[in-house]
């Protein structure tokens, strides 16, 4: 472990272990996400069956839409829809003063903790969801409603890379929310605005491919696509070959933009920090 990364990796490991302890929350979250997943799958089945002519021309077929839905449910907690509660709490209580006392870059320190918080919550839920939707559902004879395997081996590998980038991008977007919380001293307004933006623009509610054709370019280019839609498209082959490179490139681009903007904004907020009382 190099001396440079030691503080950040230690913070990441500690937060990961702490967050992983919340097993009841993981199970409850999984149960809810499974319920919603089943509901959404049934709605899509009915939706595609009600207009066979339109369904035939759909840019994304029923089977892929269902797989997309299960992936969206499995990785739901990667949605950057709330600021990190630990940061919000530190801002409210003034414990942020102690964060500034550490000989570490505050952005990196918060980023490592936020990423660990996301990863520790997504890991058990994703494993449970994959086991259920990709293994148990087909075993029950419901192949049509199941999470299908990736288009090919390369698509599977591309998905792993893209989902890793999605986690990094999600943490970078959450960092922007964290900075907003630090600036406004309250997380409720920030979270209220972030939630709909994230679930609509990432493709969580409806796969982005099902939006009108004229929106497609913009939908793919905006940052939230990298949180869910791009990895999903790589999984079922909607993006392949050069498309995969483009998708990964977009994700990297938005990670860089969010990190750069977040660092700049955090430095400004910290320069006019006030820690009152006591």
């Amino acid at each position: 472990m190099s001396a440079l990364t030691r503080p950040y990796l230690a913070a990441l490991a500690a937060r990961f272990q702490l967050t992983l302890q919340y097993r009841a929350a993981a199970l409850a979250g999984f149960a809810t996400q499974l319920w919603w997943g089943g509901l959404k799958v049934m709605i899509y089945v009915a939706f595609f069956a009600s207009a066979p002519a339109a369904a035939a021309r759909s840019p994304i077929g029923l089977a892929d839409t269902i797989t997309y839905t299960w992936i969206a449910q499995a990785f739901l907690v990667l949605q950057p829809w709330t600021a990190d509660p630990e940061v919000s709490q530190a801002v409210r209580s003034g414990a942020v003063a102690y964060d500034r006392l550490r000989p570490v870059d505050t952005y990196g320190f918060w980023y490592a903790r936020t990423l660990a918080w996301s990863l520790a919550r997504v890991a058990p839920r994703a494993v449970l969801m994959a086991a259920t939707a990709a293994v148990i559902v087909p075993l029950l004879g419901l192949q049509d409603w199941s999470w299908r395997p990736p288009a090919d081996l390369l698509a599977g590998a591309g998905f792993l890379v893209s989902m890793t980038l999605a986690a990094l991008l999600s943490a970078a977007i959450i960092m922007l929310l964290n900075v907003l919380v630090a600036a406004t001293l309250n997380d409720r307004g920030v979270n209220t605005l972030a939630m709909p933006a994230s679930i609509i623009l990432s493709g969580n509610i409806i796969p982005l491919a099902l939006f009108p054709d004229s929106f497609q370019l913009w939908l793919l280019a905006q940052p939230f696509a990298g949180v869910l839609d791009i990895p999903c498209r790589i999984w079922f082959g909607g993006l392949s070959g050069g498309g995969v490179v483009l998708g990964l490139g977009l994700q990297l681009f938005w990670i860089a933009v969010c990190m750069f903007g977040g660092r700049l904004a955090l430095a400004r907020v910290m320069a006019r920090l006030q820690v009152q009382g006591g």
């Binding site: 030691r6 500690a14 500034r100 006392l101 920090l273 009382g277 006591g278």
Partner: protein, 330 residues
């Protein structure tokens, strides 16, 4: 060159204000009124390596603001600060690695982590060499009697236990300066004594420079050779405590129990503060009438059963000082 140099420090805060009641809240939405609070107007002092300085003043005087600027958390509006040649807010990363800070009202340990895991994490954050860390941790654990607490989550500790763990966690990286902001707040008597004993030892035996703020004047009496009093954002006094006392409230108190009903005494320079049956409490100025002379005079003229002498309690001295300077919080 002093270790800590503070010159003409000034810091203002902008505070949003609104008129009371629901109507005021609505008006506040349309037009925000800001009030400027001058936390520090003009603070200057310096501190040599190895000193132990008590930093006192009423609530809102600017003590904590000064500590937060010295530790690199806040940026002042004006003035100069150098700590070991570093400007804290410009050189934050290098600066904070070499100081230790304890805020008595906040916690720096992770609430859900066992104490020892919190220590490990801090050692990683401060990049302390593992061998140095283990030696230092074991030393602190035995000095602060933390052995039994190491594997408990921080949230299960009592305030006194937690404060000992907080102080240990501020010292794992062997800082040469320790800032203590109200380290004894809310602690019971044995816990206060433990904290004071440890801080004294740290300062005397290890030469750690300590800057201590407190409202508990017994902390000051037990620890500080030098006291700075701040009020309304300015330094009101900077001297050894005894000098401060002599300037504010030089009187002594003499408690006398007579064999019979307490007599009416008429001694120049001596006043009767309280009378209760056979007992008298007198105040006198030792510069006018030294204590031995006063005692000799009383025992020569009256049958006395018991006698003892006291200085006014330190709280009273400080309260009187705040009053004289109009420094009490408005």
């Amino acid at each position: 060159m002093p270790q800590i140099l503070v010159q003409d420090l000034a810091k203002t805060f902008r505070v949003a204000e609104r008129e009371p009641g629901p109507l005021g809240a609505v008006r506040g939405l349309l037009r925000r009124r800001w009030r400027t609070v001058e936390a520090l107007k003009d603070v200057s002092f310096s501190l040599e390596q190895g000193e132990l300085l008590g930093f006192i003043g009423p609530n809102g005087a600017g003590k904590s603001t000064t500590i937060k600027i010295l530790s690199g958390i806040l940026t002042p509006d004006a003035g100069r600060v150098e700590v070991d040649g570093r400007v804290p807010w410009n050189d934050r990363l290098r600066h904070v690695g070499r100081i230790g800070v304890v805020f008595g009202q906040r916690t720096q340990l992770w609430w859900d982590l066992p104490v020892i895991d919190g220590f490990d994490l801090l050692a990683a954050i401060y990049k302390v060499e593992p061998a140095d860390y283990r030696r230092r941790r074991d030393e602190l654990v035995s000095l602060l009697r933390l052995e039994a607490l190491l594997h408990q989550p921080v949230r299960q500790l009592s305030l006194g236990q937690r404060m000992r763990a907080e102080i240990a966690s501020a010292l794992l990286h062997a800082p040469s300066i320790l800032f203590l902001d109200e380290p004894t707040i809310g602690l019971d008597a044995p816990a206060k004594l433990a904290v004071r004993g440890f801080v004294r030892r740290l300062n005397r035996e290890h030469g750690v420079t300590v800057l201590l703020t407190t409202h508990d004047m017994h902390d000051i009496e037990a620890l500080a050779e030098r006291v700075i009093v701040v009020g309304h954002g300015r330094v009101l006094a900077d001297s050894p405590f005894e000098v401060l006392r002599a300037g504010v409230l030089a009187e002594r108190r003499l408690f006398v129990d007579f064999a019979e009903e307490a007599p009416a005494l008429a001694i120049p320079g001596v006043a009767v503060r309280a009378r209760d049956g056979r007992s008298l409490e007198l105040t006198f100025d030792p510069a006018i009438l030294p204590a031995p002379a006063l005692i000799a005079k009383i025992t020569a003229e009256h049958a006395v059963e018991d006698i003892h002498i006291e200085q006014p309690p330190i709280e009273e001295v400080i309260a009187r000082f705040y009053e004289q300077h109009g420094a009490a919080e408005s």
